[in-house]
Assembly symmetry: D2
Homo-oligomer: 313 residues x 4
């Protein structure tokens, strides 16, 4: 099979791209995400048609946040768009006249990194995506592990603190409440409020109040050595690394890939994650250690991965 | 391939058995576990020779507690026997003249249940063994998931309580400190010490002091309705079920199998585990639920599973 | 000194009452709580004037939620009303021409119970108030313990779960997130959503959805034996009792008094609190146990206590 | 009253000293702690007689680890010596012919610091002693707060981690498992085992293995900048400071005093404790902050405090 299209549905934009067998994006288009569930489907179809006009494409892969059934056809539940048992594959196929597969977005991103990014050369890879929340994807023996019902790899919602922070999913103590972009901002705001003297650089990047601290301020302040910003990254890394150690006990991959916006900071965040991983890896003296790698494809991993998964049929 | 031998190395006994293709044990023998690492290897060889005299056997599978490398040849680390990078496969092959594979004991037991026990008819199964500690095994797509380095499925040592109970592995808050036979005894002793009035039946089964409460007393007292015994099982079930909910988020199997001595109590412990599993399953309204099944092979699962894995080569 | 006035500032109503030396309320009046900080002060003055027309009163005691300075004059911080370093004593004295003392509302309620309710006959009493949140008051040697800066007894915000639930105070894991009316409702909603079959009675009292469950439904359903409602009270009691055990290690009172709306359920909630208290009391075999008593004055404790504290000058 | 004797019963030594009204020790003697409960009583009497030969003394104060009843006469329970309801006051009075009072050792140390050490000028002081374990003492309004039954101030056993580390007291998650000399050693050993590269200085001070790391090594290595040693102190400080923040919510003292062997390191440990205290102090923007002071009397605080409490009668 030659060219395929990958679609990435984000909270504000829908991106579609024509991707070749080497994972190169030949053409892309972006449209704003419509507010209604049906509108999103129309927008996906429009984007696919737009981007495919100049190319001979053979299939479409769509990456969507939420639970996708194991036939890769129906979105069981999408947290952001109001899709409940939405037959996305059928509806898009009818509109665009191409075979469509639907994938969980974090799975698609993991596949992209495995095939064309940091995971090349590894057969057993576990990816975590530290974005606003925390997503995950699992490659075992060169195959994407979707689970019996299609909902494997929901790392963000394993419980890391009993009776812990309330999560949007209704549960408490979910990993993504402690290791994600949103968690990072909470760490920085709490610390800046408690010890403003130590957060002068950080507070100076916003309007001076803890409430206005954003992720970009924390990154910038950490690079300038602000103690509260550095400490906030460390706290995030503590939780991320401890979770990776658990995933090593469970999956035992040869490599972990850390992606998502938080990982854009590179070794500023990767090094403390590696340190925490080693700290908490059970039996670390008696076993080979998995590598902890930074993702390479950035925000394109999901689109490229979805396109490639569509190619595989 | 016809008959194979399975070997199960326990803390006090080594059991060997000739097993046919249907998982039936045709012949067995047991010897005490010697105190030295080298003695254990000799005892394994003796047991294999003894049990194979009347049968034409083609291979040997050994289930051992600890980390086994992904070539199924070397025990990297055994917690109970002092094996460190022990080339068990080679040594036993030299002694018995048959092909040998070494497997983690909980993996072997999971495989036994998958092939001949509660897991029949399922392709994606996750097993937990609630014995003295907590072991695990993973079947994905009908294959045992050993991990890249052979040490996947070490469920007992994922961290369920940050800064929690010290574990023999050197880490803190490991799942097996909260969901295992040892945990059950701790729950009962603590509660009986704090509220002896509510533990009259339970305390009456030992010598009247909390320190002498054993697992068998708790089972017996729970059947008689002792509130402290019932509550101890509930506490165990709370942790076991919450952990299964996490495993569902990670692996998404069609069934969980709960084995080990604690599961011998059947629905007395399985029902509260199921309840806790549903309580903590993230997104439970939007996804099919995995079944939570009692193991069927009891203490023979490891031996039968090891024999079958040897057959598969 | 003869008659004094107690004032209780609630979220929706301000109550004032004339109280005699035996703690009997002779006259009361209630006014709605105005929306502005200054308006509240005017309303307090109005209520005091109204209720004192037919009585010869000598002083006014005001119970206010928040931090009150140790001179009993200034509200440093009120969470509900927008008071920050508000000189409440001076402003009300100017308006009503009587000596005024300001007290933390939970302190006032504790004092009321100590003098005229469940605490009579005890010299060392610790009170907790399980209302929407969790408040506390401490009597040591027959004296109210206000602390060096006036802000002692803020039990609701001790940390009982590291990295736990976010609290309105900005911290995490505060006791009131686990033991309060609000916590009770959360327990019931989460459990009813996860296991609706077990919550039939409870769900039937609202509109059938977990989101509409209120405290009164939980009480009613628990009395009817609904398992989820009973379990929700037990969870609350688990946290309340464990916290009292800590307070026993710290203060070692002869009695605890449990007040607030949750305690209106009497032994339905008090008995499991006592059980949990005994379960977690350190050294319980070697020390006398404090009693755990139900409050007796209900919602009037604060008003009566404030009036009596004003009398003491 | 003029001179009194203070006695400090340690695990290996019993120290007695003659103390004047200014808290100056005029004469001391030390004897090894005998192995039997009755032997300890004889040794106390011997030490008192020895030290009092050259002085006119009027009373004896004994500081003992464990629960002391509120008459200051009977040791209800001593964790180290096998005293259970031991009538220590009577037995020593019979042997030495002087009035005797028995005090909890941490209470005595707190009193010593309050009267002659870091607490001078404060009326409301809370002391914690970070020794092998964690002890506490409370001064309210210039008086030692013993509690109704004599067992107040047992800070070491408040629960800071639900389901946390097992404590010698039989409970779990006690503060002293996270903030004490023993905890510090555990932190250092765990980290050195997990990341030996980062612990080179620390490991070089012992025999190179994590198991031989002692407190003195950690102090020395921290001063040399060893990252694992520094991080271990930080972890201890994190827990100590968070606990002090809770004590501020409860007692609201004007000052905390941190004593015990761990505090000998001065600002190396005090500064991170202060930082953590500010980090976790609830409502920190709206209230005066208690000072966090280093103890001044070192290991003599208990002896001097016991002597002074005997003087007060």
């Amino acid at each position: 099979m030659g060219l395929t299209i990958g679609v990435d549905i984000g909270g504000t934009k829908i991106a579609a791209g024509v991707v070749d067998e080497e994972g190169t994006i030949l053409d892309t288009c972006k449209v704003p995400t419509p507010p209604t569930p049906e509108g999103v489907i129309d927008a996906i179809a429009d984007a696919v048609r737009t981007v495919s006009t100049d190319h001979q494409v053979e299939a479409v892969g769509i990456g969507a946040a939420g639970y996708v059934d194991n036939k890769r056809a129906t979105v069981l539940f999408a947290p952001n768009i109001n899709w409940r048992h939405e037959t996305l594959k059928d509806k898009v196929e009818q509109r665009v006249g191409l075979p469509v597969v639907v994938e969980n977005d974090a799975n698609a991103a993991a596949w992209g990194e495995y095939r064309f990014g940091a995971g090349q050369g590894h057969d057993d890879v576990v990816c975590i995506t530290l974005g606003t929340g925390l997503g995950g994807g699992i490659i075992i023996g060169g195959r994407l592990h979707r689970g019996r019902f299609g909902v494997a790899g929901e790392f963000g919602h394993i419980r890391v603190v009993p009776d812990g922070l309330l999560c949007g999913c209704g549960s408490q103590g979910c990993w993504e409440q402690y290791a994600s972009g949103r968690a990072l901002v909470r760490y920085a705001r709490q610390r800046a409020a408690a010890t403003p003297d130590a957060a002068k650089i950080l507070l100076g990047l916003g309007d001076g109040t803890p409430e206005t601290i954003e992720g970009k301020h924390i990154s910038e302040a950490a690079r300038q050595g602000d103690p509260v910003a550095v400490d906030s990254f460390r706290e995030l890394a503590r939780w991320a690394g401890a979770g990776l150690a658990d995933l090593a006990s469970l999956f035992d991959p040869s490599a972990f890939i850390v992606g998502g916006g938080v990982s854009d900071e590179g070794d500023l965040v990767l090094d403390p994650i590696r340190k925490s991983f080693r700290r908490w890896l059970v039996g670390g003296r008696w076993r080979p250690h998995a590598q902890v790698l930074a993702a390479q494809l950035g925000g394109k991993a999901g689109l490229v991965g979805a396109a490639d998964l569509a190619r595989q049929g």
